[in-house]
């Protein structure tokens, strides 16, 4: 199985000069699962994009599944990418595409061009697509069009595509943002179980602290592009979490800062 990943002194700035990540040092063993938490704009999405080889860091070394992506040839990079599955916050699915096709597209990186074309004429792996959807309780929507589904269902189709891809490194950027609390909890549970069963390295960014604390053994606190803490979940204290989100609560525009504190306290009691 995979070789996890490692970041050394990684930094990245957006084209407008805004620093997104600064001096990130982090590594994960194969099969490790971690949640990334932090306020909006902390750099969580950029971090995941770099891990997904969609963004190239300006400084520092990265190694993903034993490879340095930006030193690979085009063919090797494509092969590496086919082993990385990124679950997007806004599921990138064409509205007019059928669910079965959207899920099967997860394996485009592993299929030959001929197989990809044939699958448009007749889906080559209906059972496989159905199994992936069934893991998220969406099996019966297989032959419907994506525009017939709700936001939360679409997000689960996006997840089913990545499960079907069978990646060695699974990444998720706010994977449950469009789901209700019960479904969010269930979906993250399924994802972590899947990762455990298959020995897949799993990194998810989450807004919901409660879910992060409940399902992930390791937590990374990201704030203003820097790692504020990197701890086994039991060692993450309420004080740390309050500091992580401090700027949001101190903001002069937010006079209801007590509300956030309540949420944090509540989530910590779990």
């Amino acid at each position: 199985m995979g070789l996890g990943f490692s970041f050394e002194k990684l930094s990245y700035s957006h084209s407008n000069g805004k620093v997104a990540l600064q001096g990130i040092e982090l590594s994960a063993n194969p099969g490790e699962q971690m949640a990334i938490v932090g306020p909006s704009g902390a750099g969580k999405t950029t971090f995941l994009n770099i891990l997904a080889t969609g963004t190239r860091p300006l400084l520092g070394q990265i190694e993903i599944l034993g490879k340095r992506p930006w030193e690979l040839s085009g063919v090797e990079l494509k092969k590496l990418r086919s082993k990385i599955g990124l679950i997007h916050q806004a599921p990138p699915l064409p509205p007019k595409q059928r669910v079965v096709t959207a899920v099967l597209a997860g394996k485009l990186g592993q299929w030959s061009l001929l197989k990809s074309i044939l699958s448009l004429l007749y889906p080559v792996d209906i059972t496989g697509a159905h199994n992936s959807l069934a893991q998220l309780d969406l099996g019966e929507r297989l032959f419907e069009r994506c525009d017939q589904l709700s936001g939360g269902q679409l997000q689960r189709v996006g997840i089913a595509r990545v499960l079907y891809q069978e990646p060695e490194l699974m990444l998720a950027d706010e994977p449950v943002s469009a789901m209700d609390p019960v479904l969010s909890d269930l979906t993250i549970k399924r994802l972590t179980q899947y990762a455990s069963n298959k020995g897949v390295t799993f990194v998810a960014s989450l807004h919901d602290i409660e879910i992060a604390l409940k399902w992930f053994p390791r937590m990374i606190g990201l704030r203003e592009g820097k790692i504020m803490f990197d701890l086994p979940t039991p060692k993450v204290t309420q004080k740390l979490l309050q500091e992580l989100y401090a700027s949001e609560m101190d903001s002069p525009d937010l006079n209801s800062s007590t509300q956030s504190t309540v949420v944090l306290q509540k989530s910590f009691e779990l």
Partner: protein, 281 residues
Amino acid sequence: MGHTTHGSTRDYTHDPDAKKRFLYFALALIILWPLLQLAEFNPLAFFDRSNWQVMGNFLSQFFPPNIEAGFLQLVFKATVETLAMATAGTALALLIAVPLGLAMTFSLSISRLGPADGHGVRKFVRSIARLLMVVLRGIPEIVWALLFVRVFGLGAVAGVTAISITYGGMLAKVYAEILESSNSQVSRALILAGSGRVGAFLYGLLPGSAQELASYTVYRWEAAVRASVIMGFVGAGGLGQLMDQSMKMLNGSEVSTILIVFLVLVLFADSLSWYVRRELA
């Protein structure tokens, strides 16, 4: 989010972009007016009685359309020829347009992710492809046709080749623009999962843009039918040649029959386009 200004520093009662909008409108008028003058455009000429008479005399030559069985047979044969040439020309144009269009589409670029090394080189290749497209469609069909008549001799081959080259360039440009304006997040996600360019097009961009691609292709086929008039000049047969002969003989009723056939063909293309769009909706 983006705006940090609060309250008093800004005027919230007027549209701040109105000035720019007005300036562009004024600029368009300032440029357009002398152009109309140059083109000797005079709307009053439409209301001149004697002009109406000239037009009336001209049009009356076209009436009634020639519906003799012998001539209709000729027209039918020519129509079939024209349809064959237009279809062959458009099909060959697709062979040029599809690879060029896909190569041009920036949202299908694999090297832009990162960006990877060699992205600059690929950008250069893309601008060469763009230049090639401009040459293909920048030279009018008739010039290509005259060139190919020298190569292939008089006949359909020259006409079909001329159409496929010009239309290949036009289709490639519009294909690339249609693909560019559809959601690039979808194809980006597929490329990030290891998909190639063609896979990202088929599974990512095609579902959202199939309607537009199909209706523009049908429109180009319709235009190719009309362009068969040019085929007449190079002796390729078809409606173009028939029309050329009728015009030279000043036979207005034959010309009007042929024009009616053109109208019917355009109507057919229109309903085909409507049908295809509905099926792809």
